[in-house]
Amino acid sequence: ADYSPFLGIEKGAVLQEARVFNDPQLDPRRCSQVITKLLYLLNQGETFTKVEATEVFFAVTKLFQSKDIGLRRMVYVMIKELSPSADEVIIVTSSLMKDMTSKTDMYRANAIRVLCRITDGTLLTQIERYLKQAIVDKNPVVASAALVSGIHLLQTNPEIVKRWSNEVQEAVQSRAALVQFHALALLHQIRQNDRLAVNKLVSSLTKGSVRSPLAQCLLIRYTSQVIRESANNNQAGDRPFYDFLEGCLRHKAEMVIFEAARAITELNGVTSRELTPAITVLQLFLSSSKPVLRFAAVRTLNKVAMTHPMAVTNCNIDMESLISDQNRSIATLAITTLLKTGNESSVDRLMKQITNFMSDIADEFKIVVVEAIRSLCLKFPLKHRSLMNFLSNILREEGGFEYKKAIVDSIVILIRDIPEAKESGLLHLCEFIEDCEFTYLSTQILHFLGIEGPKTSDPSKYIRYIYNRVHLENATVRAGAVSTLAKFGAMVDTLKPRVFVLLRRCLFDNDDEVRDRATLYLNTLGGDGAVVETGEDVKEFLFGSLDIPLVNLENSLKNYEPSEEAFDINSVPKEVKTQPLAEKKAPGKKPTGLGAPPAGPPSTVDAYEKLLSSIPEFANFGKLFKSSAPVELTEAETEYAVNVVKHIFDGHVVFQYNCTNTIPEQLLENVTVIVDASEAEEFAEVASKPLRSLPYDSPGQTFVAFEKPEGVPAVGKFSNMLRFIVKEVDPSTGEAEDDGVEDEYQLEELEVVAADYMLKVGVSNFRNAWETMDADCERVDEYGLGPRESLAEAVNAVINLLGMQPCEGTEVVLNNSRSHTCLLSGVYIGNVKVLVRLQFGLDGPKDVAMK
C-alpha cells in the first residue's frame, strides 16, 4: 500500500494533539507538525465546526510566544486558513502589529498579509501608517506584501487605499521587478475611473522605465484599453501607442511578446499593415518546442482567422504540420483555423488530413471540427458533396449524443441553405436513423423528413426508411414515424394509397399513442379509400406551427379540471410571459437546425411573428417582413435597461421596447414609451400597447405601432421617453405600496434606416443569379467614400449600411490589395430580389472609391 505520513489521520485525534499549543514549554517542531496536520485535514476538504475552529484558533494564538521563525510562518498560514471572526481577530491584532513593526523582514511581510486578509476595515485606520511605510520599504518582499494587500483592500475600503497613491507611485519606480508589477497594478486600480490619469500613466511609462515582464504585460493591457477608449474620438490618423505595442514584439520575455501580439490582433478595426508584425511573431511561436507557446499562438491566430482570414494564410504551412501535434488541443485549433483560412481548392486535401485526425480525438474536439466544417460548407457551397460525405461518414462512426447531434444539426442546416445538397443530405439522414440509438435524434429527423421529403423529386424513396422505423423502434419513434408518413400522404397524392395501407397496419400497434395517431391521420386524410386532394385546414393541422407557448398550454392543462365542458384551446393565453427571444445567444453561433422551423426565417423571427400576431392591435398588419436586432436605448447599468426591436411590415412599423427594471425597491406600472416622430415625417402613430406592470428583474415589453406608406422604405428618426408609474416596494416582503408617482425617463433616439427594409438572403451561385436577372433592372453608380482607415473597413461599412448578405466569402479583403469586389444579395421590401456587385478601389493613399 501507499505509504503516507498521514495514513489513518483522524480529525478528533489531531484536535487533541493541538493541546500542545497550550504547553508552557513550547516544542516548536512538534507544534509545526501539528499545524501541518491541521492544514492537511483542511486541504483534504475536512471542515471544523465553529467550536472546533475557535478552539484551534485560540490555541494557535498562544504560539506567538515562541521565537521560532519556522513555527511563526506556519502560524501565519494557519490563521489565514481559519479566517477568524471579527471578535477573534482582536485577539491576534496586537501580536500581528508587533510583527508588522519587527526588524525581521519576514515577519513584517507576512504579518501585513495576514492582518490585511483578516481585518474588517475598522482596524485599517490604525495600521494605515505602517502600510504606507511598508509600500516603500527597501525590502522588496515587504513592499510587495503591502502592495498586494492594498489591491485586495481596494475592493472593500477604497477610500483608505486611495490615500496611498504617492507611496504607490514611488514604488512603481522600484528596482525590484515584482514590486514594480504590484505597484503598477495597484496604481492603475486606484485611478481606473479617471481616464485622464490612466492616459498620463500610460504615456509616461510607455517611454520605457518598466523592467519587469509582468509589469510590461500589465502596461500592454492598460495601453490597449487607452487605445480602445480613444478610438471613438479620433478616427483618422495613426493609432496612438501602436509603436509601443509593436516595440514590445521585440522584447526578450516571451510573455511580453505574446501579450503584445495578442493586443495588436485585438485592436478595433486593425489594419493588415498593423497585423503583419504580430502575425510574424506568432508564426515563429507555432514551431516552438514548447507546447504552451504553440497553443497560445494557434489560439490567437484562430481568433484572427474569424475576422481576417487572409492575414493568417501565411501561417498555413506551419499550421498544417500542427495537425499531427501530440497535444490535441493544439491540433484541433490548427485544423479549425485552417478550415477558416483555406480556399476552395485546398478543401479536399484538408478533408483527407482531417479524416485521419478525427479517429483519435475526444468528442468535444470533434464537435468543434464539425462546426468548422459546417461554416466552411456554407462558405464554399460548391464543395458540398465532399463535405456532406465527410459528415455522413463520421455520423456512422462511434460517438456520444452531443457529437451526433452536432453532426445532424450541421446536415440539416446545409440541407436548408444549399438546395443542391438537399437530396443527398436527406438520404444520409435516412441511413442514419436506420441505426440510431438516440430517440431524440430519430424523432427530430423524422419530423424534418416529413417537411422536406415530400418536396423532393422522388418522395417515394423515403417511405421505406420511415416505415422501417414503425417496425423496429420504440413507441416514441414509431409515433413520430406515423406522423411523418401522414405528411407524405397529405402532400403527395400519388403516394396516398400506399400511405393508407401502411397507416392501417399501425392501427394494431401495441402502443396507444401510435394507434391514436394512425386513426387520427387516416380520418383527416380520408383514408376510406378515396383519394381526394388534401384540404387546406388539414394541411394547416399537419404542418402549421402551434401558436401557443408550450408553457402556457402546460399550465392551462394542469389547471383544467375534468368536467362536462371540454378543454378549450382558445382559452390558453398566447402572450409570452417572459422574454421569448434568444438575444443572449453566443455571437456567431448559428441557430441549431432541428428545433427551428423549416426553410427560411430563423427561429427568432418566428417567435416575433407569433408574439406580434397574438396582439389584436397588430394582427391586421399582414406578414412580418423583418425584425431588426435589438438596439440598446440605455447605457449599461442604468436604472432601467431598454432595448428596441424594429418590426417592419408592409404598411406599418412596430417598435418593441424590451424593458428591464433593475431596482429591487421599485415596481413600475403602466409603462409606455412616448415617441416623438417629428423627424420622421412619413410615419404616423396608430397604436400603443402599454405594459401593465414591470417588477424588478423580470423583463417585459411595450409596443408602439406606426403607419407608413405601403411598400415604401420610409426612413426617419424617433426620440423616445419612457413614462410609467413608480411604486415603492419593500424589499423584505416584496409588497408594493398602493400609491405610485408618475415619472419619466429619457431614452436614446432610434432610427429606421434603409437596411431595416433589407433581408439578408444568400444565393449559392452569385454569377448565375446575376446573369439570370433582367438587364433592365441594372443600375450602375459610382460613389466616392472619402478617406477610410482601410479597404476592409470601407467594405464592412458599406455591407452594414446596406444590410445585405455577402456571398462567396467576398466580404473578406485580401491583405494589401488595392481593389476589391464584393458580392451582396438580399430581398428588399415588397419581395424584390436585389443583387449588388461592389467594386472598391483605392484612390491615393486612403480615399476609397466604390462602384
Binding site: 509545526s32 501541518t36 476538504g45 471542515t47 521563525i69 489591491i151 509582468l214 507546447p291 497560445a296 497535444n327
Partner: protein
C-alpha cells in the same frame, strides 16, 4: 479586471488524489465542486506526456497548464482570456521551487513528508489570485529560511510523539 489572475494551483498524485491544493477564486464554492474539477483536470491530462515540457489544455473556459514528475502532477489554472505564458511561468516557478525544496527527490512520499514546505511554497507564489513571485530560487529561499533546523521529516516524529503523548498522560494522571 486587467491584472493577471490565477484561479487555482493543484498538486495531485498519480491517481488524481490531492497532495496540496489552493483555490483563489469562487468558481468552485464547495469541496465537491473542487474535487469534480480536479477529477476532470486529472482525467483529461493523465495520458499526456508533460514531463519534459509543460503542457496545456483548455476546458470549461479555463486554461490549465501542467507538468508532471514521477508521481507528482502540478497544475495551474487561469481564466480563458489569461496569457498562457504567464500561467506557464507560475507553473514553472512552483514546479522548480518544489524540486529545490525536496532536494531532488521529487515524489509523492517526499512531498507528503515535507508538506509544510509545500504549503509555505504555495503561500509564497500567489496571494489571493495575484502573482507574488515566480522565480523558483526566490520562492524556495523564502520558504527554506523559515524551515526548521534542516530536515526533521514528519516520519521521525513517531518516537518523539509517543514520548510526548506518554508524558501528557502521565501529567494528567498525576494532576487528578
Amino acid at each position: 479586471e486587467l491584472c493577471p489572475t490565477i484561479k487555482n494551483i493543484l498538486l495531485l498524485d498519480s491517481e488524481g488524489k490531492r497532495i496540496a491544493v489552493k483555490y483563489y477564486s469562487d468558481d468552485w464554492p464547495t469541496n465537491a465542486a473542487k474535487e469534480a474539477f480536479e477529477k476532470a483536470v486529472f482525467t483529461k491530462t493523465q495520458k499526456t506526456n508533460a514531463r519534459t515540457e509543460a503542457e496545456i489544455t483548455m476546458f470549461d473556459n479555463y486554461i490549465v497548464v501542467y507538468k508532471f514528475v514521477q508521481d507528482l502532477h502540478f497544475f495551474v489554472t487561469g481564466g480563458e482570456n489569461e496569457n498562457e505564458i504567464i500561467l506557464a511561468t507560475v507553473l514553472q516557478g512552483f514546479f522548480d521551487a518544489v524540486g529545490l525544496l525536496l532536494r531532488g527527490t521529487e515524489d509523492k512520499k517526499e512531498a507528503l513528508e515535507n508538506l509544510d514546505l509545500i504549503l509555505l511554497c504555495l503561500d509564497e507564489i500567489v496571494d489571493g489570485g495575484i502573482i507574488l513571485e515566480t522565480d523558483a530560487n526566490v520562492i524556495a529561499g523564502k520558504v527554506d529560511s523559515h524551515s526548521m533546523d534542516a530536515g526533521a521529516p514528519l516520519s521521525e516524529q513517531t518516537i518523539t510523539q509517543a514520548l510526548a503523548t506518554a508524558r501528557e498522560h502521565l501529567t494528567r494522571s498525576l494532576l487528578k
